[in-house]
C-alpha cells in the first residue's frame, strides 16, 4: 500500500471513529434500537414460514428448500443494509444541507455518507440471518463439492453487493426527485421480498422484468438451485447459480454510473 492510499484510508477511519465516539454518547438508546431492529429480520423469515405452513409446497419447493432461499436473500440483504442501508437517509442529508458539507471535503461523497451512520443496531440482524442459513443448510441434503462451497461463500456476498447497488440506485433518485423515498423503498424492500420466494411463483412479464431483466432471480433462487443440485423448472442451466457475482458486478457498475450522474445533477437547497 502506498503512502497516499494509507492516508486516504486513515481519513475514512477517522470518519468511522467520529461515529463510534458519537454513538457512545447515547448508550441507552443504542441498546433499545439494537433489539427493536431485530424484529425486521425475524419477521421476513417468519412470513415465509407461514406461507409454507399453509401449503405443503410452493411452486414445487418444500419448506426447507424455501428456507434456504429466504436465508440467502435475508443474509445478503442484512449485509447490504448494514453497510449501505443508511443511504436511504440521503433525502434528509440533502434537505438539511449535510450534503453540501460532505461535498466540500476532500473525500468521495458516497463513502462519507455511508460512514455518517454506524448501524451497529443492525448487527443483530446479521447474526440472525446467518443462523437461519446454517439451519437451512443442515436441514437440506446438500452434496458438498468444492464448487458448491465456493458458491456458498460467493452467493451471500454477491447478494449483498446486489442489494447495496439497489440501495444506492434508489437513493440516487433523490437527486432528481427529492420525494422519491417510497419509490426507492419499493425496489429495495420489494426486491428483498421478491427474492425470498422461488421465482416460479411469479408469472409473465413481472417475472421476466424482476427476476431476469433486473436480476433479482440471481440473488437467492438460482444459487439455491445450484446448491441443492435441482434442475430449474424454468429451464436455466445449473451453472446459472454461479452467475450471481457477475449480476452483482453489473448492478454495482450501473449504480455507480447513476450515482455519479446524480451528484452532477444535485441542486442543493437554498440557504
Amino acid at each position: 500500500m502506498n503512502a497516499k492510499t494509507k492516508e486516504l484510508l486513515g481519513a475514512y477511519l477517522a470518519l468511522l471513529r467520529g461515529q463510534v465516539h458519537s454513538l457512545t454518547s447515547y448508550r441507552a438508546s443504542f441498546a433499545v434500537e439494537l433489539f427493536s431492529n431485530l424484529g425486521g429480520t425475524t419477521l421476513d423469515v417468519l412470513t415465509v414460514l407461514v406461507v409454507f405452513r399453509a401449503t405443503r409446497s410452493v411452486a414445487g419447493f418444500s419448506l426447507i428448500e424455501g428456507l434456504l432461499m429466504v436465508s440467502l436473500s435475508s443474509l445478503g440483504f442484512a449485509m447490504a443494509d448494514f453497510a449501505v442501508g443508511n443511504i436511504d437517509r440521503l433525502k434528509n442529508y440533502v434537505r438539511t444541507g449535510t450534503m453540501d458539507a460532505v461535498l466540500v471535503r476532500p473525500l468521495a461523497a458516497l463513502p462519507q455518507l455511508l460512514l455518517m451512520d454506524l448501524p451497529l443496531r443492525k448487527a443483530l440482524r446479521l447474526v440472525v440471518s446467518g443462523a437461519v442459513l446454517v439451519v437451512a443448510l443442515r436441514s437440506n441434503d446438500i452434496v458438498w463439492t468444492p464448487s458448491r462451497v465456493v458458491l456458498l461463500v460467493l452467493a451471500p456476498v454477491a447478494g449483498a453487493v446486489f442489494f447495496s447497488s439497489i440501495f444506492v440506485l434508489s437513493a440516487s433518485l433523490t437527486f432528481w426527485w427529492i420525494d422519491s423515498g417510497e419509490l426507492g423503498s419499493s425496489f429495495t424492500y420489494g426486491g428483498r421480498d421478491f427474492t425470498a420466494y422461488p421465482v416460479p411463483v411469479y408469472a409473465g412479464w413481472f417475472r421476466a422484468v424482476f427476476a431476469y431483466a433486473m436480476g433479482f432471480g440471481f440473488v437467492a433462487y438460482q444459487p439455491a438451485l445450484a446448491l441443492l443440485g435441482r434442475a430449474d423448472p424454468l429451464g436455466l442451466p445449473s451453472w446459472a447459480g454461479f452467475l450471481s457475482p457477475l449480476v452483482a458486478v453489473v448492478a454495482a457498475f450501473f449504480a455507480a454510473v447513476v450515482w455519479r450522474a446524480g451528484i452532477r445533477h444535485y441542486r442543493s437547497t437554498g440557504s
Binding site: E7, L8, G10, A11, L13, A14, L15, R17, G18, H21, S22, S25, Y26, G97, T98, D100, A101, L103, V104, R105, P106, L107, A108, R264, H265, Y266, R267, S268, G270, S271
Partner: protein, 314 residues
C-alpha cells in the same frame, strides 16, 4: 494567473409551477446569469444581494458543490466539480447554516478528526490550531460537545475547522448570520487579522453591510443572477450619488427661506431649532458660515444600506 476565474458562469434551475388544477409548467429560472469575475490572491471580496440573487449558488459552484449549467470556472487553477476532492484540500468553506463539525463530539475531537480527513501533518495542524485558539478564544469550550455550544461559539469553531488545513481561499456564506453584536465583532476582527497576511483570499457573502465595510475593499453586488456593481464602496457611493449629511442644532429658529447653494435642506425639526442638509456639491463650512447662533453640529456619512436598497429596487 488569477486565483478565481468565472467566465460567463451560468446556473439555471428548472422549477415546476402550478399552471392549472393538474397541469404543471416547467420554467427555467436563471439563478446565476452569465457572471464574469476574477479574484486575485490575497483579495478580500464581499458579495451582497437580496435573497435569491444567486450569491450562495455562485459560492456553491466555486466550491464544487453545484455543477454550472454553462460557462467556465477555475479556482486555484482547478475545475471545481471534476476536481472536487483535490480542490477541497486548497479551500476552506464556512456555510453559515451548514456545519462541518460533529454534533455530538467536543470541538477538540472534531478538529483532530479533520486533521486526518485533510491529511495535515501534525505540527502544521497544531500550529494553526494554536493561532485560532488564541485569536478566537476557543479554550473555554474546547471540550464541550458541539450541540451544546452557542451559535457564536459554534461559528468560531466552524471558522477554525475551515482553516486547519491551511487553505489558500476561504469561502464564507453568511458567516455572521444570527450572531449577536459581540460575536459578530469577534468574527470580523478575526477575519480582518487573517486578511492582514495577504496570502489568504477571502470571498464572503452577507446581508450585513457592516461585514463588508469592515473587511472588504471590493464589493460585488449581485441581483437576479447578474453583477450590478463591482468595485469599492466609495465607487458605489459616487455612482449612486449618495452624499454626506449635516445636522445642525441652533439657539434660534432657522430663518424661513434659508438656502445655501449646493446644499439641500432635507428636514427641519424641534421648532426649527434643528435642521438637516444634504451636502450635494458643497462642504460643511459653506453651510455653517451662513448660520447664526450655531450650538452643535454633526456630519453623517452616507448610509450604505440606503444605497444598496436603491440598487435592489433598480
Amino acid at each position: 494567473m488569477s486565483l478565481i476565474q468565472m467566465h460567463n458562469l451560468r446556473k439555471d434551475f428548472t422549477v415546476r409551477v402550478k399552471a392549472g388544477r393538474f397541469r404543471r409548467e416547467k420554467r427555467i429560472v436563471p439563478a446565476v446569469n452569465g457572471v464574469n469575475l476574477t479574484f486575485e490572491r490575497g483579495e478580500m471580496a464581499g458579495y451582497i444581494g437580496p435573497n435569491g440573487a444567486g450569491k450562495s449558488t455562485t459560492l456553491k459552484m466555486l466550491t464544487g458543490v453545484l455543477t454550472p449549467s454553462s460557462g467556465d470556472v477555475r479556482v486555484c487553477g482547478l475545475q471545481p466539480v471534476p476536481q472536487r476532492t483535490k480542490l477541497a484540500l486548497q479551500i476552506g468553506v464556512v456555510f453559515g447554516q451548514r456545519s462541518q463539525l460533529w454534533w455530538d463530539l467536543p470541538l477538540r475531537d472534531s478538529f483532530s478528526l479533520l486533521r486526518h480527513i485533510y491529511r495535515v501533518p501534525a505540527d502544521a495542524h497544531a500550529g494553526r490550531l494554536k493561532r485560532c485558539r488564541e485569536l478566537l478564544d476557543l479554550d473555554d469550550f474546547m471540550d464541550t460537545p458541539v450541540r451544546q455550544l452557542s451559535l457564536g461559539q459554534r461559528m468560531r469553531g466552524e471558522l477554525t475547522a475551515a482553516l486547519l488545513h491551511g487553505p489558500s481561499v476561504l469561502f464564507l456564506d453568511e458567516p455572521t448570520i444570527g450572531l449577536d453584536v459581540v460575536s459578530k465583532q469577534a468574527v470580523r476582527s478575526f477575519l480582518a487579522e487573517l486578511g492582514q497576511g495577504g496570502d489568504l483570499t477571502l470571498v464572503l457573502t452577507t446581508h450585513d453591510l457592516a461585514d463588508i465595510e469592515r473587511l472588504c475593499r471590493r464589493l460585488v453586488v449581485i441581483d437576479h443572477g447578474s453583477v450590478v456593481h463591482d468595485g469599492t464602496i466609495e465607487a458605489l457611493h459616487a455612482r449612486y450619488g449618495s452624499h454626506r449629511r449635516l445636522v445642525v442644532d441652533l439657539d434660534v429658529p432657522l430663518p424661513e427661506g434659508f438656502a445655501v447653494p449646493g446644499a439641500e435642506l432635507l428636514s427641519v425639526e424641534a421648532d426649527r431649532h434643528r435642521a438637516t442638509f444634504e451636502l450635494v456639491t458643497t462642504q460643511v463650512g459653506a453651510v455653517v458660515s451662513e448660520l447664526t447662533a450655531l450650538r452643535d453640529l454633526s456630519v453623517v456619512e452616507p448610509d450604505i444600506e440606503d444605497v444598496v436598497a436603491k440598487l435592489y429596487r433598480a
